[in-house]
């Protein structure tokens, strides 16, 4: 990847300034995240400690237990102290029984004090450490399998989506896609899952335009792709979504089931799902700490801004968001190789020099984040249903990907916005990618934009606009900027949005063993 960088003559002082502004803008948010907790963060601790399963109505036991604890002692102290205090008091032999008793109303929780609190802390810490140990084991297992089967031969890695709604249909489709050349399989989630305040349980066969993210679905798909990895002699990565109201829990389940990449944007839920900003930032920090520990690569969602705002006018908002995502990610312990920062090929094709501008934007991202596996997203907005034109557009998209050393390439479908991809659409799309990578994959060796040419100037202009915007965000505060509609044109005030009722300011007694352990290791 390093081969492709340093082609734009960017002023290093300006680049440093951009990063330091992002840090300044992000730091108050991190402090805010450290001062709050959410129901989903606390439920994630219970999941880490091994609580799984659901009652006869399909409501997970973690939710049953969490709801009771919250009703008895509130959310602000965290759930670890009251839960492990109850276990130490002999209310139940394990978490599962405790959850069942809590659901039937036969346990009352309290906030332990003094020596009882200390004992509860120790027990909770031991339980959370057990979960982290499983995640660590999964990470070692991944390393071993990559060593055994190998990484894809080429960069970018080829990323394909399956989305049937039925995990048992997804599996053969995913395996077929891997055989056809996919290096990464993403299972799209059912529409609306991001707004559920619980993680569904078990293998699922009905979803809307996607398949529910559940621990069992994760396990089934990972096992199937392990089979494909063996068959194909390269490790096939699995992707899902740590987003929405249950982001921390889904991140935890992903770590436990050895998922390899997770969509995990710092602002997507706020902007596109109207989830409360504080809820999102708190959940996001915890989920990123888990991803860091699990060796999971995150994919951020900057491409989405360009589906609502203009890709030329708003190009700098992508850069700003990438810088913020980078800051938040590193603060949570993620390393450069884990940052699949997003960007997209969405400039109106009819605009003169649209391709040169796409190149400029992609090169800017590449050079700003030289060690991150950038995620390059195909055109969606200008896919009109004219599949022939769409195929050409995807070819140009692939060409930018090849010329600018992108790490992860989401394969564009000519039938985007027409149908969910047919088998032939996927095959044609992969032919397109293979042709472009084969024909022009090494073009970056010869391609050096003129230092004062259109591309270099455009990149500098976008970087300059990013700094102006970051300056403004630092002045008014990121939460206010989000409230003003700075990103993707969406206005999201901090005191509104979904999931706000699941946020609490941490008390002086707050204890979360998972966060403690994750931060110690950092």
């Amino acid at each position: 990847m390093t081969r492709a960088v340093k082609k734009l003559d960017l002023d290093p002082v300006t680049v440093r300034k951009a990063r330091s502004l992002a840090r300044k803008a992000g730091r108050p948010i991190v402090n805010l995240a450290k001062q709050h907790t959410t129901v989903s963060v606390e439920r994630a601790v219970l999941r880490l400690a091994g609580l799984a399963g659901a009652d006869s109505e399909g409501i997970p036991w973690v939710n049953r237990l969490a709801d009771t604890v919250r009703a008895d002692v509130g959310l602000e102290h965290g759930f670890a102290l009251p839960v492990w205090d109850a276990l130490l008091r002999g209310e139940a032999e394990d978490l599962n029984v405790l959850a069942q008793k809590a659901a039937s109303g036969s346990v009352t929780f309290r906030l332990p004090e003094g020596r009882d609190a200390q004992r509860a802390r120790t027990a909770a810490r031991k339980a959370a450490a057990g979960g982290l140990k499983l995640i660590d084991g999964r990470r070692r297992e991944r390393d071993r399998l990559i060593k055994k089967h190998g990484d894809p031969e080429q960069r970018p890695w080829i990323y394909l989506i399956v989305a049937t709604g039925d995990i048992y249909e997804d599996i053969p489709q995913a395996q077929a896609a891997a055989r056809a050349g996919a290096d990464i399989i993403a299972v799209i989630r059912s529409t609306g899952q991001s707004l559920l305040d619980y993680v569904p349980e078990g293998a699922t066969r009905e979803g809307f335009a996607g398949t529910y993210a559940t621990q069992e679905n994760f396990r089934l798909m990972r096992a199937a792709l392990d089979e494909s990895s063996r068959e194909l002699g390269r490790y096939i990565r699995l992707t899902n979504y740590a987003s929405g109201l249950c982001m921390p829990e889904i991140a935890t389940l992903a770590g436990l089931q050895r998922l390899d990449m997770m969509l995990n944007d710092s602002m997507y839920g706020i902007l596109f799902r109207d989830i409360n900003p504080i809820r999102t930032f708190v959940d996001q920090r915890f989920s990123r700490q888990i991803h860091a520990r699990a060796g999971i690569i995150i994919n951020t969602g900057e491409d989405n801004y360009l589906t609502t705002a203009d890709a030329v006018d708003a190009a700098h908002t992508v850069t700003v968001s990438q810088l913020l995502n980078e800051y938040f990610a590193k603060e949570a312990g993620l390393e450069d190789w884990q940052l699949g920062l997003g960007h997209a090929f969405e400039i109106t094709p009819e605009i003169p020099d649209s391709f040169r501008m796409e190149l400029a934007h992609a090169m800017l991202a590449r050079q700003l984040f030289p060690d991150a596996p950038l995620k390059w997203m195909p055109p969606t907005r200008h896919m009109t249903g004219d599949v022939f034109r769409g195929y050409l557009l995807d070819g140009f998209f692939n060409l930018v990907g090849a010329m600018t050393g992108q790490g992860i390439l989401l394969v564009g479908m000519m039938t985007e916005a027409v149908v969910t991809p047919w088998i032939s659409d996927r095959d044609l799309a992969l032919q397109n990618v293979r042709y472009v990578l084969g024909a022009a994959g090494n073009l970056h060796e010869d391609f050096h934009p003129a230092p004062d040419g259109f591309i270099a100037n455009r990149a500098r202009q976008v970087l300059g606009e990013s700094i102006d915007l970051l300056d403004r965000i630092v002045d008014e505060g990121l939460l206010n900027a989000i409230g003003d509609g700075t990103f993707g044109l969406m206005k999201r005030p901090q005191d509104a949005g979904r999931g706000l009722e699941g946020v609490a300011r941490r008390s002086g007694e707050y204890y979360n063993p998972a966060i403690e352990l994750l931060e110690e290791a950092q």
Binding site: A180, T191, G192, T308, T380, A417, I423, S424, D427, M490
Partner: protein, 250 residues
Amino acid sequence: MSIIRPYGDTTGDGMVQMSFTLPIAHDKRAEGAAIQLANKMGMDPALVVHAKPMGPDFTFFVVYGPVNHLVDTDKVEVIERDYPLLTPKEVNLSVRKHLRRRLTIVGACIGTDAHTVGIDAIMNIKGFAGEKGLEYYRELKVVNLGAQVAVPELVRRAKAEKADAILVSQVVTQREAHVLNTKEMSAAFREAYAENARPVLVAGGPRFTEQMADELGVDRVFGRGTTPGEVASYLVDALVTKRQPVKRSA
């Protein structure tokens, strides 16, 4: 001229191209099967210009040839939409110009239905089928109450927000609950408002058909596949354009 045929490079040649996949391995028999399908579709002679195996079990074909069907343009039946389809820009402009304030829409999934897929597809900025949702429209104020909203709560919020329109979604239902819920909703609004002051009531969901509006007591029903743009255009037509006829001089 009302009788026409497809045009390749000569009037009347009837030339058509198509592509499809058959679930069989690629061999001569597969190509014969592709020709057979094309023949049955009225393409004769059919020329398989491209056949490519996709894995061991599928073959992709591109086929060219003349179709023997004639099209009579006089016999084409079109069901016209009774409102003009507007772009987001036109919707915003129309609301700003004629309503002179933002148009308020309150949406919800009512009853026990927890599936906000429908209402979110229409209302969330993310949208549906490549179209942005109603939140994207600057001149529309969108209040999405989410799932499992009780009818009295919906009426209360509608009044508090001074709603111009109510969107109600029903996706997953049992024993005709979607019909009962929607009837309950429309009855409640008729009771709470004077008829001329009542918000426009819109119901949507895959189990509704557009002809059900009267039965449900709503002003409009949208079925499967409805896009946000269609809903926005309808609302402008129902609330903005019709209420205050366009002044031509403006």
